[in-house]
């Protein structure tokens, strides 16, 4: 503690490395994705509520929302929402496992990260195939 430089003074010690120093690892990317998808879902809930409010207010408002969500842009947003939901859901299951203290070994976390990514893409694909069958 004695030779800690004063605030603002240049330090001769190496600074702790930050995000951009590390080569991206899948564990780190999926950790970031859990936060990004959580934030995306935060605004996704708004879409759900607007959809329900439109249905509650009038048939015309609901038809407008159904049309809007069916456009290419609407479908892209919903596709992103679906993937964010499954990615975050599987990421959440990972957190629950880790909360018990299990599966924290380096090789295991790497495998879990890949599973989260592949699993979320698989579930998204599955739901959209079912969705198009229902819709068309």
């Amino acid at each position: 503690m004695a030779d800690t430089p004063a605030k603002g003074a240049a330090s001769a010690r190496p600074l702790s490395p930050h995000l951009q120093i590390y080569r991206p690892a899948i564990t780190m990317i999926m950790s970031i994705m859990h936060r990004v998808t959580g934030a995306a879902l935060y605004f996704g809930t708004l879409i759900l509520v607007v959809w329900l409010a439109a249905a509650a207010s009038s048939p015309a408002a609901f038809d407008t929302m159904q049309w809007l969500l069916g456009t290419i842009v609407g479908q892209l947003v919903l596709f992103g929402y679906t993937w964010a939901l499954f990615n975050h859901m599987l990421g959440g299951i990972r957190h629950f496992i880790w909360d018990t203290g299990a599966m924290l070994e380096k090789a295991t976390t790497t495998r879990l990260a890949w599973l989260t990514l592949v699993g979320s893409l698989g579930l998204t694909f599955l739901v959209w195939v079912v969705g198009y069958i229902v819709w068309l």
Partner: protein, 126 residues
């Protein structure tokens, strides 16, 4: 050296005075979301391309109504806690942080209220 008073150690609530409350509620609502997501996705799939009449008819089933109310309330509590952590991680200026935390709560309460009231209205057919 332990700077904590014996009383604070016995209470075990930490510096924010909330103990593990935030952590636990985030997990609890996370588990609820996990279960409710299955029902929610099914509901959306059943509603694709639905007319207003077909859509509102689904609310004659009380389980559908309950599912949506639970998903909205659990989801909103969960997302408010989650966004709070994100704000605390990135917004360090005290005034801006407070403003963001207040806006977060206001947004979540408004989303929950509009969502739940809409579902109730659809259920009672008003």
């Amino acid at each position: 050296m332990n700077m904590r008073t014996p009383l604070s150690r016995v209470r075990g609530l930490g510096s924010a005075g909330e103990g593990t409350g935030h952590f636990w509620l985030q997990r609890l609502t996370g588990i609820a979301n996990l279960l409710l997501t299955i029902g929610f996705v099914s509901f959306v799939l059943a509603s694709l391309g639905a007319s207003h009449e077909q859509f509102t008819a689904q609310f004659s089933n009380p389980f559908t109504t309950a599912l949506l109310i639970l998903f909205i309330t659990s989801g909103v509590v969960h997302m408010r806690l989650g966004m709070q952590v994100i704000i605390e991680d990135y917004v360090h200026e005290e005034g801006a942080k407070l403003a963001c935390l207040i806006a977060n709560t206001f947004f979540c309460v408004a989303v929950a209220l509009v969502g739940v009231l809409s579902v109730i209205q659809l259920a009672v057919g008003g």
